[in-house]
């Protein structure tokens, strides 16, 4: 489903050139739950951003469902992300001025769905993560675990084929972290959603189908 060929990412400033990703080749099958691990600064999040089309590689090729992404315009990339991808961030990145339901509806705003449809789909997604009694709350009124569940609902509301999760349990205690992990495992099992997760947590990583380790921008396992 996802094919990365010889991916390189170089960050350049006036004085320094940093090779964040160095010649990574990776195939991710449909329905696979993949973990990416490595020490801080090894390029995990950079790789995830590249897979999620949030960042452009300096070299190499990305294909998602045999579609070569390189030549896509900004508009095409945005549409592709909207329809095929969902994101879960370590810091949740919910919009505090919007209620929970409005936060979850966000991806649907860019699909020209009607207000009625958006509401229905968002409510359904929140029910899947067990938060249907918090529709009118604001993010600041929720616990960390609840916020991450809202973020998951937002990520799945549009039925994406791929979910990219960057340390989804990083800001949570172990109990809440396990809850979140259970939701993700369940999604992968029941909906067949492909999930790529960056994590520091070895125990979480071993629950997934495959583990890829990075070190200094290169794949070591």
């Amino acid at each position: 489903m996802i094919r990365l060929q010889n991916i390189e990412k170089v960050y350049r400033t006036d004085t320094v050139e940093t090779l964040a990703i160095n010649g990574i080749n990776l195939d991710i099958a449909k329905g696979e739950f993949l973990s990416i691990m490595g020490p801080s600064g090894c390029g995990k999040s950079t790789l995830l951003n590249i897979i999620g089309l949030l960042d452009e590689p300096s070299k190499g090729q990305i294909k998602i469902d045999d579609t070569d992404i390189r030549k896509f315009s900004d508009q095409q990339l945005a549409k592709f992300r909207n329809q095929k991808l969902g994101f879960i961030f370590q810091s949740y990145h919910l919009i505090n001025d919007l209620q929970v339901l409005d936060n979850v509806e966000l991806p649907l705003l860019y699909r020209n769905a009607s207000a009625k449809e958006r509401k229905a789909l968002a409510s359904e997604a929140l029910e899947k993560v067990g938060l249907s009694n918090r529709l009118k709350h604001f993010p600041t009124q929720l616990s960390g675990g609840q916020r991450q569940r809202v973020a998951i609902a937002r990520a799945i509301v549009g039925n994406p084929q791929i979910i990219l999760a960057d340390e989804p349990t990083g800001n949570l205690d172990s109990a809440m972290g396990n809850e979140i992990m259970e939701i993700l495992l369940n999604l992968n099992k029941t909906e067949g959603t492909t999930i790529v997760m960056v994590t520091h947590d070895e125990s979480m990583a071993h629950k997934t189908h495959r583990l890829v380790r990075l070190f200094d921008g290169s794949q070591v396992q």
């Binding site: 949030l54 900004d74 945005a78 909207n82 961030f89 705003l109």
Partner: protein, 401 residues
């Protein structure tokens, strides 16, 4: 609305800036509209030319005389023009003192000819204007304004036939007219007298004096012909001794104003005055717009994370730019609405205070349209650059912000 409720202080500053600027703009536009639009009693501007000044020069020695015109010039030269249907002549306003109940009343008076009342459309509340016969007979009669009637005669219902005394001279009142705003400066007066009773020498053949005139053509199409005929006539006017050039213009209303403000006898300066006025308005609008741009950029940077999330979930740069501009336009129109409310209040207060005597400002369609245009200008200009900056934000960097 959620965006506006966020960072209430920024929203307040933005709304205050927009509404304050637009209030000043709207009140100024109302004032300029009042001064430039046809106003009582000068309703025939489209058929009129205005003759206000003459200049005679000695180009070798560098001397110059400039002044209003004499009754002799108008009666002897201008009255011969075929395209002039009627000519309304009036003097500068002079000041006289009257005493009512031991209180001093200052009465501004003007001398006019008979046709003045046919060219200008004064509304007579009582009586009538003076006729040519009454002028020829040099009768000591006066037409007074409603304000003068009330100040001098108090509650009396009818004052036609009564006498008004100014500078110890008695005039018999033959008519009372509705007040004229001081913004219509050439036609505003407390008392109007026949020019034949003026103390200046009626046999004087000087070209210069204290009078101005409105030349009325039969129709709008005749106005350019009238102007041309006037200019032809001027070439035949004998230039006074010791001078070698004579300048005098019969201008349409707006040209007369621009010539007065920024022009000269040889240059009406219409383009110059419009450019200067336009430049001033642009500068006036530019300063708050730049401030608004700065505030908007700050707001955008604060919303970097939100922008990153929206982009991650499928918002294209174009969509976000559109969203931001729409948000900004809503803010601007809200500020505009507040500005309209403030403007109405200030206009009401100006009218109540009689700040400029008898001037009544209003918020008409013209003023409202200019204000709307200013809102659109504000909204677009102050939103476009920040929106463009925002669209260039890298998603990953935005999410880290």
């Amino acid at each position: 609305m959620a965006v506006l409720k966020r960072r209430k202080f920024f929203t307040f500053i933005s709304l205050f800036g927009i509404s304050f600027t637009l209030t000043i703009l709207m009140v100024s536009t109302a004032l300029i509209d009042k001064m430039l639009s046809p106003d009582y009693p000068d309703h025939k501007r489209s058929r009129s030319l205005y003759v206000e000044r003459m200049e005679i020069k000695n180009s070798k020695e560098g001397w110059m005389n400039s002044s209003n015109l004499s009754m002799y010039f108008f009666n002897h030269y201008v009255s011969t023009l075929k395209n002039v249907q009627k000519m309304g002549i009036s003097s500068n306003s002079k000041s006289s003192n009257a005493y009512v109940n031991n209180k001093k009343l200052v009465i501004g008076y003007k001398y006019t000819n008979a046709d003045y009342w046919n060219v200008l459309e004064y509304k007579f509340l009582e009586g009538k204007a003076f006729s040519q016969k009454e002028i020829d007979d040099a009768e000591m009669i006066a037409v007074i304004s409603k304000e003068t009637k009330e100040s001098y005669f108090g509650d009396e219902k009818s004052v036609v036939g009564k006498y008004i005394s100014a500078d110890n001279i008695n005039y018999r009142v033959i008519g009372v007219v509705e007040n004229v705003s001081k913004t219509v400066r050439n036609f505003s007066g407390d008392m109007y007298l026949p020019y034949s009773i003026a103390k200046d020498n009626r046999n004087n053949t000087d070209l210069m004096g204290t009078y101005t005139a409105v030349l009325l053509a039969k129709n709008e199409a005749d106005v350019p012909k009238m102007e041309m005929e006037f200019n032809q006539m001027l070439k035949k006017v004998p230039i006074p001794k010791d001078f070698d050039k004579i300048y005098c213009n019969a201008d349409p209303f707006f040209t007369a104003i621009t010539r007065r403000i920024g022009g000269s006898s040889t240059n009406a300066a219409v383009a110059k005055v419009i450019s200067l006025a336009g430049g001033f308005v642009l500068l006036f609008l530019l300063l708050p717009t730049i401030n608004l741009v700065n505030i908007n950029i700050t707001r955008i940077m604060e919303r970097s994370s939100e922008i990153g999330v929206r982009k991650a979930f499928g918002a294209s740069s174009k969509t976000l730019v559109y969203q931001f501009i729409v948000e900004n336009m809503i803010l601007t129109f809200l500020g505009g609405f507040i500005g309209v409310v403030f403007s109405l209040l200030i206009i009401y207060l100006i009218n109540q205070s009689n700040f400029i005597s008898n001037m009544r400002l209003s918020m008409n369609l013209t003023v409202f349209c200019y204000s709307l245009l200013a809102c659109v200008f504000f909204g677009l200009i102050s939103g476009v650059y920040p929106a463009w900056r925002m669209s260039k934000l890298n998603v990953v960097k935005a999410l880290k912000a």
